[in-house]
């Protein structure tokens, strides 16, 4: 079994009386995509927010490698190596692709408080940005204002920004949402390339994509893990069939 990059140990998150996430444990391994699926409201996005630090946990532990990071704020988790994308694209729409990615690379460089010298003159930052743009196949769009790109390209840009922060673990919240067929295929290939030397957590509704990508699969319902393991085993799990075929239609 390969190395654990990130781990959640019996995480709980309550919003008032609602148990959004309840006793969830899972591990993200190096060179693997760990997909999390489940009906709407199962707690998948909350889980990502707990791992990234956007929402504090009520109980439980988050570990990055052998380091406990439960108490770290999101910016410190990012510096420690946790990169994430959001369900709703969060890029800087008025800036070019290069400027967006450079900003991300600059965050990682740790010079956020440097007031002297123009940003465009930091060679290491420029190089990191360029590499991330090449890795996501956006070279031709480098000078394009983000707003004028297609939805699919904007999502690619968001991934490029995550890559530029040089993460150990990447958390993707529905990266294929709203994409057409061709765009989705490109994104699936991109996500597959991300796991090289990293761990990837993928929350996604598109089942074709999930089964094309997942090395490991966890199914959540009502905030709890109802099944976890290799995709083929989980697919035939009775609890999973019940959760998907009970009140909800199969999301595909």
């Amino acid at each position: 079994m390969s190395e654990i990059m990130m781990e959640a140990r019996s995480l709980h998150r309550r919003f008032g009386g609602l148990r959004a996430v309840s006793d969830v444990s899972l591990a993200i391994y190096r060179n693997e995509v760990h997909a999390v699926i489940g009906p709407n409201g199962a707690g998948k996005s909350t889980l990502i927010n707990l791992l990234s630090g956007d929402i504090p946990v009520s109980e439980g532990e988050v570990r990055l490698g052998d380091r406990e990071i439960t108490g770290l704020k999101p910016n410190l988790r990012a510096m420690a190596g946790v990169g994430r994308s959001y369900q709703k694209t969060t890029i800087f729409m008025g800036s070019t692709v290069f400027e967006n990615v450079r900003l991300a690379a600059q965050a990682k460089s740790g010079h956020a408080l440097r007031m002297l010298g123009a940003v465009q003159h930091d060679d290491a930052v420029n190089e990191a940005a360029r590499a991330a743009i090449v890795a996501t196949g956006l070279q031709a769009r480098s000078g394009t204002i983000a707003r004028f790109m297609s939805h699919g390209e904007q999502r690619q840009l968001e991934i490029a920004m995550v890559l530029a922060t040089d993460p150990k673990v990447i958390l993707l919240d529905e990266p294929l949402a709203g994409m057409g067929q061709a765009e989705a295929l490109r994104m699936i290939a991109l996500i597959r390339s991300l796991k090289q030397d990293r761990g990837v957590l993928l929350v996604e509704h598109d089942m074709d994509a999930v089964f094309a990508l997942a090395d490991r699969l966890t199914v959540m319902a009502d905030g709890k893990v109802i099944a976890s393991g290799l995709p083929d085993d989980v697919r035939n799990h009775p609890a999973v069939r019940a959760a998907y075929l009970g009140d909800h239609e199969v999301a595909a």
Partner: protein, 359 residues
């Protein structure tokens, strides 16, 4: 529309500077003092814009930093002569920095309307500290009979009692503040600050220490406002609690919005416009404040990007100046007009601004 070539623009800037420097030799004393006052208000507006325009945080206690530095000069000026410029200025600015760090550390934990309320409350606290206690002469304020002395090894260098000398000092400080602000806005710090304004969540998840960025911006902004307050107290030889009040804070905010928040120079232009407008209206009309209000409303409607928007019609486009700088992609020289289009950002405060704008 004719657009200026960058070299023509540089010529224009040089001409403006020469004209500004020559003003005391040409104009009567009244106008020299008036211009000093306008430049100092321009400096306060410029400093506030680091927080409001680039930080996306509407602060209503900026006058407190302006006034506090003025009072510090008052406290340090002896009865018999001027305070030492080299000592009193750093001490005044240090006091402002400490107070701003405390106010910022507490108020920056809030957002939006709450940030406005908390900064307003802190500003009023400082106002009443000077208004209701005996400190600094209470509500009557205090006189500063002598201007600070700029001396080197005991020899007086510049006599600030001469209004032309004082004017040149203010001009140099304003130019310095503009250059400093331009550098900050283009620096890694400036970009990170603007990213946090446009999307705080994203900035955090990329790893930016958003709270610290904003606190530093708040303190730097306060110190520049303090510099203007110090010089203003020296110019008028008088400080009063009104210098710290919310009325001045709001006026400076109007200057910023009027001039345009998306550039370094906009607020300075806004300050000149507002002060110039007041001066003209005051001498011509009895109910000048009413007319001033109408004109401000008209400007805001006609030029939503501020008065500086007018300048964009003649400024050189991005990319006119030779090959792109190292690190900028060769294929991207977008039209600034497009870049300034409204951003459908997730942050409502960012919606009227383009992102990553400079100068």
């Amino acid at each position: 529309m004719i657009r200026l070539h960058p070299t023509m623009l540089r010529g224009l800037v040089a001409l403006t500077l020469i004209a500004a420097a020559a003003l005391p030799l040409l104009a009567p004393n009244y106008y020299v003092q008036f211009a000093s006052k306008a430049m100092l208000m321009g400096m306060v507006a410029l400093s506030l814009n680091l927080v409001v325009g680039y930080g996306g945080l509407v602060s209503l206690c900026h006058a407190a930093f302006f006034g506090l530095a003025g009072y510090m000069l008052g406290f340090m000026t002896p009865e018999s002569g001027g305070a030492s410029f080299w000592l009193s200025l750093p001490v005044a600015l240090l006091a402002v920095a400490v107070v701003a760090a405390i106010i910022g550390a507490l108020s920056l934990r809030t957002r939006g309307i709450y940030f406005i309320m908390v900064t307003l409350a802190f500003g009023e606290m400082l106002f009443y500290l000077f208004h209701d206690t005996k400190i600094g002469g209470g509500s009557d304020g205090m006189y500063i009979y002598f201007k600070p002395e700029i001396a080197l090894a005991g020899f007086p260098l510049i006599d600030l009692e001469k209004s032309s000398n004082f004017y040149w000092l203010v001009l140099a400080m304003l130019v310095g503040a503009i250059l400093l602000m331009t550098a900050i806005v283009k620096s890694p710090f400036g970009h990170a600050l603007q990213a946090a304004r446009d999307n705080e969540k994203r900035a955090l998840s990329l790893g930016f220490p958003v709270f610290r960025l904003r606190l530093v911006a708040f303190v730097v902004s306060a110190v520049i406002a303090g510099l203007a307050g110090y010089l203003s107290a020296a110019q008028f030889g008088f400080v009063a609690p009104q210098m710290l009040g919310w009325h001045l804070s709001a006026t400076v905010l109007v200057m910023v919005v009027l001039g345009g928040m998306s550039s370094v120079l906009g607020p300075v232009i806004g300050a000149f416009a507002l002060i110039g407008l007041e001066e003209i209206l005051k001498s011509s009309f009895e109910h000048w404040k009413l007319i001033k209000g109408l004109i401000i409303i008209a400007i805001v409607f006609a030029l939503p990007g501020g008065i500086r928007q007018l300048a964009e019609l003649v400024l050189p486009r991005r990319g006119d100046e030779g090959p792109p700088a190292a690190g900028t992609p060769a294929d991207g020289t977008p039209d600034p007009a497009i870049r300034r289009a409204e951003a459908p950002g997730t942050n409502p405060q960012a919606q009227t601004r383009g992102e990553f704008q400079h100068v």
